[in-house]
Amino acid sequence: MIDIYSQLPILLIAIPLFAAPVCVLLGGRWLTYLLSVVVCGTTFAISIGLMQQVIKYGPIHYEIGNWKPPYGIEYVVDGLSGFVMMFVSALAAIVLLYGKPSIDAEIPRSKHYLFYASYLLCMTGLLGMCITGDLFNVFVFLEISSLSSYALISLGRTRRAPLAALQYLILGTIGATFFLIGIGLLYQMTGTLNMSDIANRLDTETGPRTLLVAFGFMTVGLFVKMAVFPLHSWLPNAYTYAPSVVTAFVAATATKVSVYAFIRLVFGIFKPEFAFEQMPLGTLLLTLSLVGIFIASTAAIFQDDVKRLLAYSSIAQIGYMLLGIGMATTDSLTAGIVHMFNHALIKGGLFMVVGCFVLRLGSSRLSDWRGAAKTMPLTSLAWAIGGLGLIGVPMTAGFVSKWLLLTSAFESNHQLVAGMMLVSSLLAVVYVWRVVETLYFSEQPSAAAKEASEAPVWMLVPMYAVIFAVLVFGVWTQFSAGLAAEAAQSLLPLDLVPTAPTVSPGGTP
């Protein structure tokens, strides 16, 4: 009989990939919806199974077609990729479970089966980027997820949706092509595409200048996909005009997976010594992310459309993850990874809340949300809790990552960064609270809010599952921080020696 455990890595990718064309074959709305939910659920279950195996026995290697690694494509599940895959598949499943009424309301019925097919393909692409151990394969999966997300975004109701998708497509393609150039140069230098093989063969200390070029191209390419300031311009429009369900899914997962790919690139392929000592990646990341956090958060404050507000907030939050990477200590990397997870939860949850409001109020403009807390108390409460998470109030997940980031900044003597980080997070208070006030403390409820009713139960339940998770992972940190710490430990076992002499704690001069 087939040994299901040893085949889990490929099933994770193959099942949704297989299900997508089945959706097209089936057509219709209900059948494809059920199939997609079942497939997403299965995928989630598989990713949990994989994670368990990883925790028990260490990294899993799977050879596709039984071709040995440097030549064949290898799938690798380790602590980091397993962790990322787990929350990506979990959010994909939950968002889909939640999204039926929203999908019905926002997407033309004749296109539903195509929507589900694209959704599954997008998830496949994201999971594939995580699991594959082959660099070119990363590009392929990156494009699978990108292409399907362009299609998903263009399904938005307004005429701006196709334009937003096109803008994303142009920038995304340029980013992906940059990444491809980098892969080509690496292949030229090493003659292999297997990531660990490249890492072994790459002489990062005395390597040729081509190395720098490759690194530059790949970094910039991923920066576009991560929406790092100043390459973020595609993101606000894409998130704003996409259907709410798509926004919830893409915002929660897509940029995180790109961050994951970036972490792999920096710590797995190029050595951190190369990236942070020979290349000024640390300074670059710290500067870009701090500037980005300030500018994007400020921009978020002035948005009237809540989706756009959250989109700008996402750009800012990516900055926090990059801060964690940029400080390049084991602890800061842990903080960055934890923030990936926490932010995926929080942003996913908040966009789900937005979806509920859009369903009932017909708009994501803040002025239409006035006084909606009266008629939609549960949804509004979910926003308040999620918003607290975004601000980083204690007992929410956002606090955990912020605290970890803060302590690691102090440990690596980046006090200035720590201070700016804290000040910048105050901006989040402003933009989150604007919405809370509008919801709860508006004297004149909008016409839509007066007549609105509470969102349907089967949207509320999955949404509250995510919101509840925000609270749970704010208290129970062993899971998220523990797994992240292990992953960071394996990527960066020793902190880089700081180049500038600093006063080390505990040492007497």
């Binding site: 490929i10 077609g65 039984n66």
Partner: protein, 154 residues
Amino acid sequence: MISFPIIRVVSKLLIPYILLFALYVQFHGDFGPGGGFQAGVIFASAIVLYAMVFGLPAAYEVAPPKVIEKLVAVGLLLYAGTGFASLFLPRPNQDVPVTGNFLEYEVFQHNLLPGILPTGQHLGIFLVELGVGITVTAVMIIIFYAFAGRERVA
């Protein structure tokens, strides 16, 4: 187009050969340069030519859009199905029975009509290429339909 009889006649003559060539590229891909990808494009080009010369409605009759859309999925499923099939078949020449990995073509070895039916690696590649060929054909046609038939379909 009715007023260009030469074009009509020539295309009618050419299309079978284009299709034949596509099939050649498809099935000889195992032995020489070629394969499902190239074959699919060639095959689709025949349909496109037909549609251009005889009009879209005629092409819709030959290759109905609904069917073509499903064919995209069928091709993909053939490819993915080959992968899944390899999960369930035992690896040849093993002491302990072990099933194959995804897309491990070795497991397709069999002894039916040796020399005529492809076997093992060959069979696996054959199936995958066939799936690719179908998908590429269908996708190319559907892209053409999507642009050429925009006003009528919408």
